[in-house]
């Protein structure tokens, strides 16, 4: 238990004790209300979770690890398009030099596959496990994952126009290596594309990402 929660617990206990003593001895209602206020505040503080890990640092480790894979893809000449496809077992990323229009019926078992006349690398999306049990519409799931679960942004605004999905990530907390963005996408691109592929049940291609004053703009397209 950290100091914040410890203080909350002591506030709760002192509020409870003082409430009982005041009720039995004095009976002054506003004072009783003050001790109830201490009780509520103390419980609120006590129920606040501790931060086990600094999430942005953990995600930076994931990004740097994926950057190594991105270098590998570039060396094989298959790094321009990242398409996210949702299967029963999870979301998979097809990294290819050309846009893909058809995909295997089941998740490939090997890293390098031939899809039609193109060659593609296949990765399991890092978000597969997190988004597996989530349900709802695309904007609410995106907000839940990026803002509440991973805590890497202040907000997400999504809009859909035909086959194109535009997402504005407000105040992103972590920057992304350029090499990663060009291949599988940043953490934000990966999250949004994985979620979109699950929600819309269609392959989603990460078109581009732009950083501006308003935040990070992620453009996706349904295949």
């Amino acid at each position: 238990m950290n100091r914040f929660r410890g203080f909350g617990l002591s506030l709760t206990l002192s509020g409870a004790v003082l409430f009982i003593v005041t009720y039995l001895l004095l009976g002054i209602v506003p004072l009783l209300a003050l001790w109830i206020a201490f009780l509520v505040l103390g419980l609120s503080m006590f129920l606040t979770p501790e931060e086990a890990l600094v999430k942005p640092n953990l995600l930076a480790v994931v990004e740097d690890s994926l950057s190594n894979l991105s270098s590998l893809f570039e060396s094989f000449g298959a790094s321009s398009y990242a398409t996210y496809v949702c299967y029963d077992t999870g979301v998979y990323v097809f990294v290819s030099e050309e846009p893909l229009s058809s995909f295997p019926e089941s998740p490939p078992k090997s890293l390098l596959v031939n899809v039609g006349s193109s060659r593609a690398f296949v990765l399991r999306s890092p978000l597969s496990s997190i988004i597996g049990d989530l349900s709802g519409d695309f904007p609410s799931i995106s907000h839940h994952v990026l803002v509440e679960l991973l805590e890497v942004a202040d907000g997400v605004e999504c809009s859909t126009a035909g086959e194109t999905i535009s997402c504005l990530v407000k105040k992103p907390y972590i920057s992304s290596p350029a090499r990663l963005e060009k291949t599988v996408g940043s953490i934000y691109g990966m999250c949004l594309a994985s979620i979109a592929s699950k929600v819309y049940a269609r392959p989603i291609t990460l078109i581009r990402e732009e950083v501006s004053e308003k935040g990070r703009l992620v453009i996706l397209r349904m295949v």
């Binding site: 506003p30 209300a33 003050l34 109830i36 509520v40 505040l41 419980l43 129920l47 979770p49 931060e51």
Partner: protein
């Protein structure tokens, strides 16, 4: 600032301002204070959505108390009590 810490700070300010303001207005009904605390807690919860280590038992407890207070007042008005 961390969202959870900020929500607790705002809740602290709201609740600790409520008590002296209502006291200065001469409010002596405990249910009025509890109703205000409940309202403030849910407003902060709606705006900041702070995380909790378990299901939000405090919100449930406040909601139950608020429902009990309202039910009691309704029964008083209907002269059942």
């Amino acid at each position: 600032m961390n969202r959870n810490i900020l929500s607790n700070m705002i809740l602290c300010l709201l609740i600790l301002f409520t008590v002296p303001i209502l006291w200065s207005l001469g409010e002596v009904r405990l249910d009025a204070y509890i109703s205000m605390f409940t309202l403030e807690y849910f407003v902060v919860k709606a705006i900041f959505n702070p995380r909790r280590i378990v299901k939000d038992a405090l919100a449930l407890a406040l909601l139950i108390m608020f429902a009990a207070i309202v039910s009691y007042k309704i029964l008083q008005v209907l002269q059942y009590i």
